[in-house]
């Protein structure tokens, strides 16, 4: 699949052109920005990330692991009488339970994010433009078939101060 790419210098231009090309029915392949542009996910029509459910799952797992292991250790495997307190002293288990909930949730979500974003140490970054991590904003559109109206796209990009447009053949990304 071929890609059409346009380079912008300002986030406002990018946001505007993103809305316009989407309204005109083009499908956005991806957008590369040097920082998280506020409102871009909305302009691209991205659905809210489902990672939050996953995070809840990890945190809940931490909670269960913490409560069960403390109960098993303190009441079943090796009960110790500490000042005559009950073996299953749940209130005393709360601090460790809380910490493990946060630990599982935090570590879990970090690795889930890396997995979801396909990021890993040593992976070679696929860049459309070497300055996209510094100061350029790059919009890439999918050219699915000959119905791709490059004239309209070009004029939209020009109206929004694109500094460079090009076609990437055979999806080198």
């Amino acid at each position: 699949m071929d890609l059409f790419s346009a380079v912008f210098k300002d986030e406002d231009d990018l946001l505007k052109v993103t809305r316009q090309v989407r309204d005109s029915g083009y499908s956005i392949y991806d957008i590369y920005t040097p920082y998280a542009v506020h409102g871009l996910d909305d302009a691209m029509g991205l659905k809210p990330s489902k990672l939050s459910y996953l995070c809840f799952g990890f945190a809940f797992l931490g909670l269960i692991v913490a409560i069960l292991s403390q109960y098993w250790i303190g009441s079943i495997d090796w009960p110790i009488n500490v000042g005559g307190k009950p073996f299953n002293s749940l209130p005393a288990y709360l601090p460790v339970t809380f910490e493990l909930t946060v630990l599982f949730g935090g570590v879990g979500i970090f690795f889930a994010f890396l997995f979801k974003a396909k990021l890993r140490p040593g992976k070679t970054a696929k860049l459309v433009n070497p300055h996209s991590t510094d100061y350029y904003f790059i919009l890439t559109l999918e050219i699915k078939d000959s119905s791709f109206d490059s004239e309209t796209v070009l004029s939209l990009c020009r109206q929004n101060n694109a500094v460079e447009t090009k076609i990437i053949l055979g999806n080198a990304l």
Binding site: A36, E99, F113, R120, P121, K123
Partner: protein, 469 residues
């Protein structure tokens, strides 16, 4: 949706910066050869660290009998330093998590370095309980794992074990949070790097980041979730540290206000340390346009608020001790204020309660030199707070025949100095090899408080009405 065009808000970043200028400015210290000042500071820190290493080696070899502890005062310098460093370590995650949730966008200029400070401070703190174990090579016995000693488990009712879980969770989450923020900046460094080694190292550390908006979308969710998890974590860690004391029956420790009192104190001391470091860094690394006087003033306000909470806690503690009717509690507080350690008590009161009141004055908040001095004063005061709480509560116990005094030995002082050496050595290395300011985040707030350029000709009111992005 977007609010950064409001004329009611002042820009966060001074000067008319473009995106590329931010990258250039922040990375400049990394691309230049280290200055003479850096070398001097580094070598001094390293020397102090080595003194600490010698002291620690000696006390591990000989035993903790090398400390000034006695039968009455079984806990003193070591735990004081531990609580002091943990407290310092509270500002970073507060800035990155709580201020993030409160949408305090000025945090972007200081969050990277404050988080690094947090991680290093927690490492410094971790050393002290490790040494106190006496046989630090068996430290893994505090981890509950199926072992061949029974299996013998840890006691989950012990606050010291809660502490182990709290500190290690805090360290892990802070590290993850810091590294997550670092990934996009590492990609920026990678794409600018000229030398092959740099390209390789930054390439390895940036995980193949290419700035895709789809990834940014998940990234922001992850960041928000980590912030939401880290916020109660910050509050829990020092609460649990305070329970090391509050669950004991010692007068002066056995107090229900300890958790909030300790948390406020931790943020108070942590922000003071951030101020100390930022005031030096902005000057030395020429970041005055990023860490502006406005940033310093805002941090001063947080110091003032948390200092107020600390002062209120002191007041409540003294009030309760005198009027509650517990004679031991009452004696202990009078002994703190008027006894042989009164000097430490009054250092604490003047540094933590009296001097921070100067921060009510706007002129002082905006005076960098005075703020610098006050931040160091608060740090000294907060160290003494822990010393006063720990030592004066123990040194005159229920049995007057065992009353005693505590004096740190040279070994203990060298260990404390060594922890400062470790702190500054690591912080200097951080400033040398990692972008000191979160480049990606600062770029995101660049337009904050500035008028939309192509609309200014039509009037600022129009520009503000036209903000739906």
């Amino acid at each position: 949706m977007s609010i950064y065009y409001s004329i009611l808000r002042k820009p966060i970043i001074a000067g008319d910066k473009k995106l590329k200028d931010i990258t250039d400015d922040v990375i400049r210290p990394l691309e230049q050869k280290p200055t003479l000042l850096w070398w001097v500071a580094f070598l001094v820190s390293l020397t102090v660290l080595l003194i600490g290493v010698v002291a620690v080696t000696y006390q591990i070899k000989v035993g903790i009998g090398t400390w000034g502890l006695n039968k009455t005062i079984g806990w003193a310098f070591d735990i004081t330093n531990f609580v002091f460093w943990i407290g310092i370590g509270h500002a970073g995650t507060l800035i990155s998590a709580i201020l993030f949730l409160f949408r305090q966008r000025w945090r972007t200029s200081i969050n990277r370095s404050a988080e690094a400070m947090t991680i290093i401070a927690v490492m410094c703190a971790g050393i002290f309980p490790l040494i106190h174990m006496g046989r630090p090579w068996l430290f893994f016995w505090v981890i509950p794992y199926p072992n061949l000693r029974g299996p013998l488990w840890v006691n989950f009712r012990s606050p010291l074990l809660w502490d182990f879980f709290a500190i290690s969770t805090y360290f892990t989450i802070s590290l993850i949070f810091w590294y997550l923020g670092l990934i996009p900046d590492m990609a920026t460094l990678r794409d600018r790097a000229k030398s092959k080694i740099k390209k390789f190292v930054y390439g390895l550390m940036s995980f193949g980041w290419n700035g895709s908006a789809r990834i940014w979308h998940h990234y922001e969710t992850t960041y928000l979730l980590l912030a939401a998890l880290a916020t109660p974590l910050v509050l829990s860690v020092h609460s649990i540290v305070s329970m090391d004391f509050a669950t004991a029956v010692i007068p002066g420790w056995h107090s229900t206000i300890f958790p909030p009192y300790f948390v406020a104190g931790a943020i108070f001391s942590g922000f003071s340390m951030v101020l100390t470091l930022m005031i030096i860094a902005r000057k030395v690394l020429h970041y005055e346009e990023y860490i502006t006087i406005d940033h310093i003033e805002k941090m001063c306000k947080i110091v003032l608020v948390t200092g107020g909470i600390v002062a209120l806690s002191y007041g409540i503690e003294i009030f309760m001790a005198i009027f509650f009717g517990n004679q031991y509690e009452r004696f202990m507080f009078l002994n703190r204020a008027l006894g042989p350690y009164a000097w430490a008590f009054w250092i604490m009161i003047s540094c933590n309660v009296l001097f921070p009141q100067f921060l009510w004055i706007k002129k002082i908040r905006r005076n960098v030199a005075l703020v610098f001095i006050l931040s160091i004063v608060v740090n000294i005061g907060m160290w003494f707070e822990r010393f006063v709480i720990i030592v004066t509560s123990l040194h005159r116990d229920f049995l007057p025949s065992s009353w005693a005094m505590y004096k740190p030995t040279i070994i203990e002082i060298a260990t404390l100095a060594g922890s400062f050496g470790l702190f500054f050595t690591f912080f200097l290395l951080f400033a040398r090899f990692v972008p000191f300011i979160a480049i990606g985040e600062v770029k995101g707030v660049l337009k904050y408080g500035k008028l939309k350029k192509n609309l200014t000709s039509e009037g600022s009111v129009k520009a503000n009405a036209d903000v739906t992005v």
